[in-house]
Amino acid sequence: MTPTNDTEDLLAGQPMDADDERALALVRDHLSAVDPVPPGLTGRVKFAMTVASLEAEVAHLINEGSMAGTVRTTEYDRATTVTFESDGLSIMVTLEEADRGTTTVRGWVTSPGAEVELRERSRSAVTTADDEGRFVFEGVERGTVHLVIRHHDEPGTRPVITPGIEI
């Protein structure tokens, strides 16, 4: 046994102390700075999990005035009107500023009577589209929301989910 090994054995058998905690806290700070979790990863994970758990079809953003059929959702940050499309379903959404920094989300879907769910960060609201496919959500707070459309009149069809809409 070398003295170094003896010392290591001794140290290994002692309880952890504040200096050990401090060293580990510094390691955490260092790794968080040089090897951070990519920005947006948790958002992408949550969306992918929602789609998977609902077995939902993802609607694509229709971007007028662009050659591309779809754009990244961040490119229409706080746009006022956006349109999404999936197989056999179109969804148009208009955002209106309302009281106290909240937003009114008015929408229209090509499936009258469909169940429309608005998913916010930590809550969700459900309404039913009227005979003309219109729906409205009031008092929506800032953040990313998704709409989930379920059309019960056609059994067996998958729900449709929109990409994130920045409110």
């Binding site: 580990l24 806290a25 700075a33």
Partner: protein, 210 residues
């Protein structure tokens, strides 16, 4: 022990919140139909999964895929996990396995296996170049500590890298997930932390500030 220390993570003892317990509670709520519970679970656990994938040799792009795949596997297996208390360990082990096979697929032409690599050739080690914005005394010290960790055996590197992201109640879950015997770290220092402590004791950077 003092309960007044819980608000100071760097000195936290057994009263520190357990990520495993928080994860179990969130997972139970999710299974009971609380649609926001899973979001909190993702926020809380993703950093640990990220560093698990990275410590297995995944580059940043691969690690991102691995972390996403792991969470999607949880959706697939939501009803197969009998005990919610085991969900954190399940996530860590899945991440480790996914990362390991992704790294192996990516290195098919390299005849060696990951465990044969000397620590110095780790392509996933965080960038060593100093960030001028972080050039404070604390970050100098943090970088010095990291350099000592990089010279430790690979298993110690993995263990210390992950326990840095949890509090003591979760050390055993992290050890078990890495296949390292429980009790290898905490409540006693254990072999890896002792090696680090020995290196730090000989380092003037640490001695001055300790």
């Amino acid at each position: 022990m003092s309960t007044g220390r819980t608000d100071r993570p760097e000195q936290a003892g057994q009263t520190a919140p357990s990520l495993a317990v928080a994860a179990a509670q969130a997972f139970s709520r999710h299974r009971d139909g609380d649609s926001s519970a899973m979001d909190r679970l993702v926020d809380d656990v993703t950093p640990l999964l990220w560093h698990t994938a990275r410590s297995q040799g995944a580059d940043r792009a691969t690690a991102e895929d691995v972390v996403q795949t792991t969470w999607l596997r949880l959706v697939e297996h939501t009803h197969d996990i009998a005990d919610p208390q085991a969900v954190l360990q399940w996530l860590l082990m899945t991440t480790k396995r996914e990362a390991w096979s992704a790294v192996r697929r990516g290195r098919r032409t390299v005849p060696r296996e990951p465990w044969d690599e000397p620590p110095t050739s780790d392509p996933t080690a965080p960038a060593a170049s100093p960030d001028p914005a972080l050039a404070s005394e604390e970050s100098e010290l943090a970088r010095a500590i990291w350099q000592h960790i990089e010279s430790l055996p690979a298993r110690c590197q993995q263990l210390l890298r992950l326990v840095a992201f949890v509090d003591r109640p979760d050390y055993s879950v992290v050890s078990a997930s890495l296949g390292i015997p429980v009790g290898s770290i905490g409540p006693t220092r254990g072999r890896c932390l002792a090696k680090l402590r020995l290196a730090l004791t000989a380092d003037p950077t640490w001695e001055v500030t300790a």
